[in-house]
Amino acid sequence: MPSSQVPDGTEVVVEVTPSWPRRRSPLTRGRALQGALPYLLILPVLVVIGAVLGYPLYKLVTLSFQRYGLFELIQRQGEWIGLDNFSSVLHDGVFWHTLERTIVFTIVNVGLTMVLGTLIALLLVRVSTWVRVLLTSGLVLVWSMPVVVAVQIWFWMSNFQNGILNHVLTQLHVGDFFQHDWYATTFSKLAMVTLLIVWGAIPFVTITVYAGLAQVPRELVDAAEIDGAGPLRVFRDVTFPILKPIFLILTSLSIIWDFGVFAQPYLLISPSNVDASNYLMGVYVYIEGYAQTNFGRGAAISLLMVVMVAAMSVFYVRRMVRMKDVQ
């Protein structure tokens, strides 16, 4: 084959039906290059991702079967211990409690985010234009807050000495919150983290759902209303079915993000106060693996977590790929 001299082009050449009757000349160098071009174009991205992600992912698997602490890190050689890390993790009550807490936390956070985000989107349809512009700009402002900044604001607002949250709640006669410590119990700590996450996540959901609402035909809603359907009926029978794909994608994205959340709980509960009583999966992996330099065991926890999230992502990825085929 003359074209076999062309580097990287050979496999493509074979595919291009070699016995095409009308072809006068064999494949030219230029043609083979054309075939190789897309591969050359994606090559740099593949190299970077392969080196910085592919290799660590492989390493994640091997590490989880090794004893690998600070000593091994310096030696750069772990000791193979089979499934010991996994059995240690799976027999640890902390793992199961953390998993359970994280699942409940994720359900509450995703539920609140989706419900409040959707309600605000529906509200956006009903208000005057100037309120809509104002509210949308406000949401974008919230959306743009860096997570670490948001944590510091929350920290300040819920400060037990002179936090504005205590002051406002006391003023509103919700109860006496003078010097109330919001970080006293696990429930209260995680509730503050939930507030922070839901606040930060609402803008994305609201703006996406609002964009979707614009695609619901006005006549359908009008027709339903003339037939006597109340707002709840209209939402259930008209709006929701049309927006279902958007809701599914937003929900699965939120589940994936909230399940693996790290910075908000770690920083808001504060690094010196996170412990087994208030771990979420992300924090648990970080503390037990990285911070305690028990890399082997940490890798086992990480691997379990990655597999769980990957299972949850299957839906989203399939959906996105299907859309790509349509386009």
Binding site: V45, R132, S144, V149, F155, W156, A211, R319, V321
Partner: protein
């Protein structure tokens, strides 16, 4: 007889018309009232959502006496820039600014160039392995980043990239950011490229341009807005990132702004709230500006085409 019925029917129509007009007026009034009620709800939601951001800026501008008072003031009566002065004079602030700028700058340039090449391949060519590549890109976006902290740290430590040497440490952070931003950039740019009609490019080629010429003269200007939007998103994400920067930048002088900010208070009870809020404001301002610039374009990237599909 007939006239009588006509008059009655005429009267009936008039009455009916009046009644209908009254109903219309009533409905119009009811609509206006409900619109006003919804507007009030909208304003309340706006107030609640924006309050934390307002409180940050407001606190940053207050003198300490107002901040530490038990009865908070909403707007300061004597605003001051002292806290901003304190914040930028804190140790390592300017180091952090410099590090953040270097990391963000290098990451955005490299990511956009590499991602653009791959996006062209995805948008303009059909090739074996294309679907697999797309699945890999989207799959990476879904990985829990904290789950990769350990293997990344171990691998980068192996190549001495987790040292205190700023060049090595920053390199480690940059290549890590690129890995997680490339899939996003490829995916978004591909969307922008698909929006360009193939005919335009073909027309240029018929007119005698080479493929490269067509690319530079036709494709590039058309995709420029997409490049800008994607770059801005990369800038924002890299600027805000915390987990990997915190793990990989062990030396204080190598910290980025977000890591610097996370160490602002430590765990002491006597926090300098004014300084903390001023520092938070300074960290947030570049992002807010950038975000307002491209919000419209980026908002739908992750769900693009969901309704159509």
């Amino acid at each position: 007889m007939t006239t009588a019925t006509e008059t009655t029917s005429a009267a009936a129509t008039a009455a009916a018309q009046n009644g209908r007009r009254a109903a219309l007026v009533r409905r119009e009034r009811r609509r206006r009232i409900s619109r006003a009620a919804w507007n009030l709800v909208g304003l309340a939601v706006f107030a609640v959502m924006v309050f934390p951001v307002f409180w940050m800026a407001s606190t940053a501008l207050k003198p300490d006496s107002e901040i530490n008072s038990f009865t908070p003031t909403w707007f300061s009566t004597s605003p001051t820039l002292d806290h901003f002065r304190d914040a930028i004079n804190r140790p390592y602030f300017w180091d952090a600014v410099k590090n953040s700028l270097i990391i963000v700058g290098v990451t955005v340039v490299l990511s956009i160039v590499l991602a653009f090449l791959a996006a062209v391949a995805l948008a303009k060519y059909r090739f074996t392995g294309r679907s697999l590549f797309v699945v890999a890109m989207i799959g990476i976006l879904m990985l829990p980043q904290v789950g990769l902290v350990i293997p990344l740290y171990v691998v980068l430590a192996k190549y001495h990239l987790t040292s205190d040497d700023p060049k090595r440490a920053l390199t480690a952070v940059i290549i890590t950011y690129m890995t997680f931003l490339l899939p996003f950039a490829v995916w978004t740019l591909r969307g922008f490229l698909l929006g360009i009609p193939k005919e335009l490019e073909e027309a240029a080629m018929v007119d005698g341009s080479s493929r490269l010429g067509a690319f530079v003269r036709i494709l590039l200007p058309l995709v420029a807005p997409g490049l800008v939007a994607t770059s801005v998103f990369v800038v924002i994400t890299a600027w805000n990132e915390y987990i990997f920067a915190n793990v990989l930048l062990t030396n204080q002088s190598n910290h980025t702004l977000t890591v610097w900010l996370s160490y602002f208070t430590g765990s002491s009870r006597n926090t300098d709230w004014g300084g903390l809020m001023a520092a938070s404001t300074l960290t947030a301002i570049p992002v807010v500006i950038f975000f307002l610039l491209v919000q419209r374009r980026i908002a739908f990237g992750l769900t693009a085409g969901a309704v159509k599909g």
